[in-house]
Symmetry: C2
Subunit: 128 residues, 2 copies
DNA sequence: GCGATACTACGAATTGTTTCGTAGGTGTCA
DNA sequence: TGACACCTACGAAACAATTCGTAGTATCGC
């Protein structure tokens, strides 16, 4: 009976989740290979991380084959929202506006992206 | 010679920084009192945190009085931008647009705030 | 069948975070 | 002056995160 929702992933865990979102269900070997393109790490390190992440409920493990196959429990969008919500509470006193302002200021977006955001604003204002 | 920029604050450190941003320069006693309105904590715990944060360069300490006075090294905006930048890299592959979308979706903003964001968009588009 | 290879499990070392008790010094005031 | 309150420094405990070596077991190629 593990009901409680998975905890917020650490930075390292998030890096592994990002590999899994990219690859889809994958073995330790596959994750390790992909992970090492950016970050040199031992095989058993990745294995251990995935084992711990399984205990935490961050990933699910298929043990039907000898090489276990791992996949994320939550979607990338879901975790992104979780992390944004956390940052919102911790650093911005819950003000999404302030966070959005900082995000737009801290990294230039393309005109296309800005237009996309504008479209979302239209939609939100219509709902209100 | 401590040149390197202060590290990303932990959640607890951030909570203390938020108190300092609210109060301005403050003694351990003042920070402790304010902090405890939300989170019950021992006096020496807050003291130790502030000592560690001083070593890390997150806060500056004025020792000219018997009760030392602490203040943040970086502005709230600066740290907010730092944290947004970090989240952007770690969870959003650098796409500010995706982060903004999630922020707006995860917490309803008031029409006034949406208008404010729209104004920022206007400004950014004019620059481009 | 046997040696090489691949895989998981486990334990342990290291490092960082958080909490708080205790000790020692300084000031206050009756 | 002596009791008391307040302040900082320090060390240690408890916990979590990260890394990796070693051991044990299964599988494959010959």
């Amino acid at each position: 009976m593990k009901k409680s929702p998975p905890p917020k992933p650490t930075d390292t865990e998030l890096a592994i989740l990002r590999v899994l979102w990219r690859l889809g269900p994958a073995t330790v070997r596959a994750v390790h290979a992909e992970f090492n393109r950016v970050q040199e790490t031992g095989y058993t390190t990745v294995l251990k991380m995935l084992q711990i992440m399984t205990e935490k409920g961050l990933v699910r493990r298929d043990e039907s084959e000898r090489s276990h196959v791992y996949q994320p429990v939550l979607s990338e969008q879901h975790v992104q929202r979780q992390l944004v919500g956390h940052l919102l509470d911790r650093a911005f006193g819950g003000s999404a506006q302030k966070l959005v302002m900082q995000a737009l200021a801290s990294k230039k977006s393309s005109p296309r992206e800005l237009a996309e955001i504008r479209r979302l604003l239209d939609k939100l204002e219509k709902e209100a």
